[in-house]
Symmetry: C2
Subunit: 519 residues, 2 copies
């Protein structure tokens, strides 16, 4: 049944002649995962469709169209809808781009043809490059429902998803979005696989290497499930939502930038897939590799240094897993002439002290300004990454990169460069400080033997990060720190007393987030 | 992080002390696929969780609990919610079973441990019986989100899902629901794989074989995506929502029954899985077999005859597919001491004339009453199936079943038995007739060479079936019928002029639903 079935709204005789029309109504419900259309159960559209669980509908407005999942509303519902109204969730509203009361056509969507390739893969056939291109195009066009996306992710997570398929998936993801091109034949990039709160080396590495003449047009992510993404932290220091033209102007002037990748539409499929991968916890190596490499290729990078933290509460938990992932990152990069260098690192605890946008920015600025109390671990890790970039770019001899980077940091050039980049992006800002704080102290003395990245992140989020820039955690201890009974372990920062109480309530039940040995 | 994270509602200081409380509010939104909880974006719960796409929440009320997906509502939403209210979708409301305004606790659900087995299967490991049992228990408890269910279905659809896994899945599905036990050592059952409108042999086979002394406690389904299920058709003749006690009383008295399986909770996982399988069109042989066999084993059957229609617009489309499916049905049945006999049949067109509950019931009654105009195909197919059941039960010699069945049908014993069963189930009813009808006629003369089961079903649904019992289609031609220009092909039945117009609008665009050769 490839023929779309028009579903006429037969409420009024005159409406029947030109097909079914409904008036759109923004209902202000955020469903994130997929666009939802709300229709009255007793409308004609629903009387035919109401018993189809998960049924999909297509709305058309001025040549634009939207495929969405149907939710049915009863006449006595708390959500008031007229018989000829189609309520749109926020995702549906954004996607269709109409105005309140606009008249739309509603019909059955054509079956998603590319899903037959997903079925074939599940039944044991390999994906072809053509198949993956068709699937990714449909994903980006919003034609896949959440359950179809989940089935695709399951198909890609199979251990039978091989190198060729990973390369084809990466290429399809690159081609589905914008692709930046730069004049320079060496365009450096960096990336961190994530899971470590406070790991904001980007904001230090970029100004160091840009100050030394390396081109590094960095696009970063906002937080999805973490208390801050690099773009969120940078946003406390400067605007980051630059379009391609403005981004180019910054890079031409300063040799580097730190902007939000979402604004320039790089590998948009990744953002859609990741919202289903995360809750499923099904981000296989292949998907992680396609995600990372597609963003870098789309950004026009020629070289990328990837920080790969490994630890019990990091994203990558064992050395074996790190080795396998590194190999695939390098292989797939090679298919796109992207030189990938992976630097394994310690993922056992947060980096720096702050967790949350403004607190992380404070650490970054402390390192760049060579403050006496700047976090050493953040400084050292940044120098290591910057040094490797300088070596790859041919600015420093092998083994001499870190010391060159140190010079540019110590003599203030890096701090000067970050300020210049921030000005070029729209003006340097000073991060604010939260109004409410609470110290969490050690119940007993001893030595810290473990810090849980994941639960610390959760406390920071409960306190309001990343939506509240100043919210988060200030960590006072590290693994191996000796602590006395009652000594502060970390301070929760929040901008409202309720949020502080809320984070505290959770923190109180998680006494072992900072695990202390009894001596 | 196996520790559930309580999410306190810190709106009022006194509420913080005993954790987070929200008042439940039924919002009257039907989301079918999974329970949804609506919370204000500016509530404390959401300020920490709002950026987690697809985040899951757990509600607790008096020892009961519900795991649901979160949708976020803005302060200015068309759906009015207070900061301390949790809006519940219909599925969530039914599942939690509280009253308006009841105070519930809200928290992060514990991770669904059994999903790690789904991940392991996707990564290439076989499912163990223990793993499948844990998964199915969680599915039935409502712990799986739609996307997790989709990933599980994808894992089961893999060609590496073998016979042992199919048997283990079937067993897990049986054990997750009620299991009927009968005194008799021969308990007959029948089943049809589906996809053929009007194929209501159950209502004829059951009274024939019961009249001849065979025990046949038949549990049937309601329609999910079709215009009528056997339970819907039977419901126009008698009540079908009988609990186990009342069902037993009917079977003890009459030797058979035709009741709705949903009321006796047989293999409840099947009903949940099917709502995700259908839209994905990923019902592999393994899943179909587990679905069918689990229902029969749970119903306490010892023998089942399965009608397997094959045709271009039926569920099973080729003879090869029918053979492979038959083999697996028999093998899996054997693991449960269930004797399975598959009878392949013609699936090229509907059976009988009526499509929709009351119209199908009319055909059934015509056959049982030996009316002159009773549909021959429905009669013959029913006799074939009943005959085979009589042979298997040892009531008729091999090859003599159909003629014995014919005797019981022709002499009125079957009709008498159906009336007795209907009385025992709560009283015989007479199906009504629709108020509005419209004949669809042949645009040109010729010979019918094809009838599209799927699009005819859709027209019947647009006219109101199965919710409106009298709605549907009356088919006047069959494959190979000669037709003159303007001759009636089928009549659409509806109970409201709007619905009739609505079905017609669609029918008008589907002229080739009944394909006519130009002579």
């Amino acid at each position: 049944m490839a023929i779309p079935d028009p579903l006429p709204n037969a409420q009024s005789p005159q409406a029947r002649g030109n097909g079914c029309r409904l008036r759109i109504h923004r209902v202000g419900i955020d469903t994130y995962q997929e666009p939802i259309v709300y229709l009255r159960a007793d409308s004609h559209v629903c009387r035919a469709e109401g018993f189809d669980a998960l049924s999909r509908v297509e709305l058309r407005l001025d040549g634009r169209h939207l495929v969405a999942t149907l939710n049915v509303v009863h006449a006595a519902s708390a959500l008031p809808l007229a018989l000829d109204q189609a309520g749109l969730s926020e995702a549906a509203w954004r996607s269709l781009g109409g105005s309140e009361g606009d008249s739309v056509g509603i019909m059955h969507p054509a079956p998603v043809e590319s899903f037959s390739h997903v079925r074939a893969k599940i039944f044991g056939h390999a994906f072809t490059a053509t198949a993956l291109r068709a699937i990714i195009e449909d994903v980006v066009a919003g034609h896949y429902s959440a359950i179809e996306t989940a089935a695709f992710i399951a198909a890609c997570a199979s251990e039978r998803f091989d190198l060729d398929e990973t390369i084809a998936l990466t290429r399809a993801m690159v081609e589905a979005g914008s692709q930046l091109r730069w004049e320079s034949h060496t365009v450096m990039d960096k990336h961190c696989v994530g899971g470590i709160p406070g790991n904001r080396t980007t904001l230090i590495v970029v100004p160091i290497v840009a100050a030394l003449g390396v081109m590094i047009p960095k696009t970063s992510s906002r937080a999805i499930t973490s208390p801050s993404g690099s773009a969120d932290t940078m946003e406390t220091l400067a605007p980051v939502a630059l379009d391609e033209t403005r981004m180019r102007r910054v890079v031409e002037r300063e040799g580097g930038c730190i902007v939000w990748g979402g604004a320039v539409n790089l590998s948009p499929a990744d953002d859609i897939l990741i919202r289903v991968e995360r809750p499923l916890d099904l981000d296989s190596d292949a998907q992680l590799v396609a995600s990372v490499i597609s963003k870098k290729v789309a950004a026009g990078s020629t070289h990328v240094v990837i920080d790969l933290p490994t630890g019990a509460t990091a994203k990558v938990r064992t050395a074996e897993a790190a080795t396998a992932l590194s190999a695939r990152l390098v292989e797939v990069g090679r298919a796109f002439d992207l030189v990938v260098e992976v630097m394994p690192s310690d993922g056992s605890q947060p980096i720096g002290r702050g967790i949350g946008p403004a607190l992380e920015a404070r650490d970054v600025v402390a390192v760049l300004r060579n403050a006496a109390d700047a976090p050493r671990d953040l400084r050292e890790r940044s120098l290591r990454i910057a040094g490797r970039i300088l070596e790859i770019a041919g600015i420093a001899a092998p083994g001499a990169g870190a010391s060159l980077a140190r010079t540019a940091l110590d003599d203030g050039r890096a701090w000067h460069k970050l300020q210049a980049i921030a000005e070029a992006q729209g003006g340097l800002r000073t991060p604010c400080v939260a109004r409410y704080r609470h110290e969490v102290t050690a119940a007993h003395g001893g030595v810290v033997f473990g810090i849980d990245n994941r639960r610390l992140s959760r406390i920071a989020k409960l306190a309001g990060a990343p939506a509240t820039q100043t919210a988060g955690i200030d960590l006072h201890v590290r693994v191996s720190s000796p602590v006395a009974p009652g000594e502060p372990l970390y301070t929760i920062h929040a901008d409202a007393p309720g949020e502080l109480a809320y984070a505290l309530e959770y923190a109180r039940r998680q006494a072992d987030v900072i695990a202390i040995d009894r001596p």
